[in-house]
């Protein structure tokens, strides 16, 4: 049980790295880039 607890933070970090790669394969980074590289009218309270 203690070993499982010790592994948790490393497992989370490794899972995070895998998720980022999966996200890039799905081109999520491009969707985010297209939003972030233009003025987000909702974010600034216009649209």
């Amino acid at each position: 049980m203690n070993l499982v607890k010790k592994i948790i933070p490393f497992a989370l970090i490794a899972l995070g790295a895998v998720f980022i790669i999966v996200g890039q394969i799905r081109h999520e980074d491009m969707i985010i880039f297209s939003k972030a590289a233009t003025v987000c009218l909702e974010c600034i309270g216009i649209g």
């Binding site: 933070p9 490393f10 998720f19 980022i20 985010i32 987000c40 974010c43 600034i44 309270g45 216009i46």
Partner: protein
């Protein structure tokens, strides 16, 4: 002479704020940065429509994917959150968030501070989880138009970071945006001003009650690689740590509380040197568990 811990923290916050917002000249131009780094998420809340922003806000990015007609959940953004959370938990809030810095500075304004009644305070602490579930996750997925797209509801109706970092600077410099101002902009400015005033009287009201990013990182506080630790053999139970904590954490009994932003004020206040940072993979037990297991 070494710098005080609090001064070091403020300096770190300023450095991170400038580091994630390096394109300051865009404020004068009324434009935003459009480089490739805009696809990477910053650890803290930092509007990607801020003229100086060099990275993307994780909460804005989560909603962008959820509001798109391609996916409901973003592996990419959750990946960043797992890494930041797994490494340092809400240390992000205490040291790496530009909006946290703003609130820290506002609280330094010498006005009489307000105490929130304990019951009201503890009930309001759950509000940030409700905002995360409803405005960041559920509404962008559920309320879609005929094309299957939706809106970033938290950014649109709540987030004062967008108003202060992006909305007001861009509207000042762009006549075309000024022509489009309506009820929504007025609401967001009123909310942002109310938040600024509240931050002078209450310590980090946005982090305590509203921030969905803080809500996410709070889930990692007990399991992250970096944690706080109390050495109970040194603790004299003087209560100085609890008194020093502006986030209202019961430091001795629950130092890695979801509400702890790891500012380190408890560590500085402890004359017995019983509080320390801990970088390790084992879970720190609360005193009740500690006594039970020993």
């Amino acid at each position: 002479m070494s710098l005080k811990t609090e001064t070091k923290r403020i300096m770190t916050q300023v450095a991170v704020t400038i580091g994630s917002n390096p394109h300051l000249s865009n404020f004068a131009n009324g434009t935003i940065y459009k480089g490739a780094t805009k696809s990477a998420c910053t650890p803290g809340l930092n509007c990607y429509s801020c003229p100086a922003a060099g990275t993307a806000c994780p909460i804005g990015s989560l909603q962008t994917i959820a509001a798109s007609n391609k996916y409901n959940m973003s592996f990419y953004v959750v990946g960043f959150l797992l890494i930041f959370g797994g490494l340092i938990g809400r240390f992000v809030c205490g040291f790496l968030c530009a909006f946290g810095l703003l609130q820290d500075l506002l609280y330094k304004i010498p006005v009489r501070k307000l105490g929130i009644p304990a019951k009201v305070d503890s009930a309001l602490r759950y509000l940030k989880y409700v905002i995360l579930a409803v405005f960041v996750i559920a509404l962008p997925i559920v309320l879609t138009d005929k094309y299957g797209t939706s809106e970033p509801f938290f950014c649109k109706y709540i987030c004062p970071a967008g108003t202060l970092e992006a909305g007001i600077p861009l509207v000042i410099k762009n006549e075309s945006l000024r022509m489009m101002i309506g009820v929504l902009f007025n609401w967001k400015v009123i909310f942002a001003v109310a938040f600024i005033i509240a931050s002078m009287f209450i310590y980090r009201p946005f982090c305590k009650y509203i921030c969905p990013l803080g809500a996410i990182y709070s889930l990692f506080n007990k399991v992250s690689l970096l944690r706080m630790n109390v050495d109970h053999s040194l603790c004299t139970s003087c209560g100085a740590c609890k008194k020093a904590c502006n986030m209202g954490v019961d430091v001795i009994n629950n130092i890695n509380s979801p509400e702890c932003i790891r500012c380190g004020k408890c560590k500085t206040a402890c004359n017995a040197k019983a509080i320390s940072w801990k970088v390790g993979a084992d879970i720190v037990l609360a005193p009740a568990e500690f006594n039970h297991n020993n």
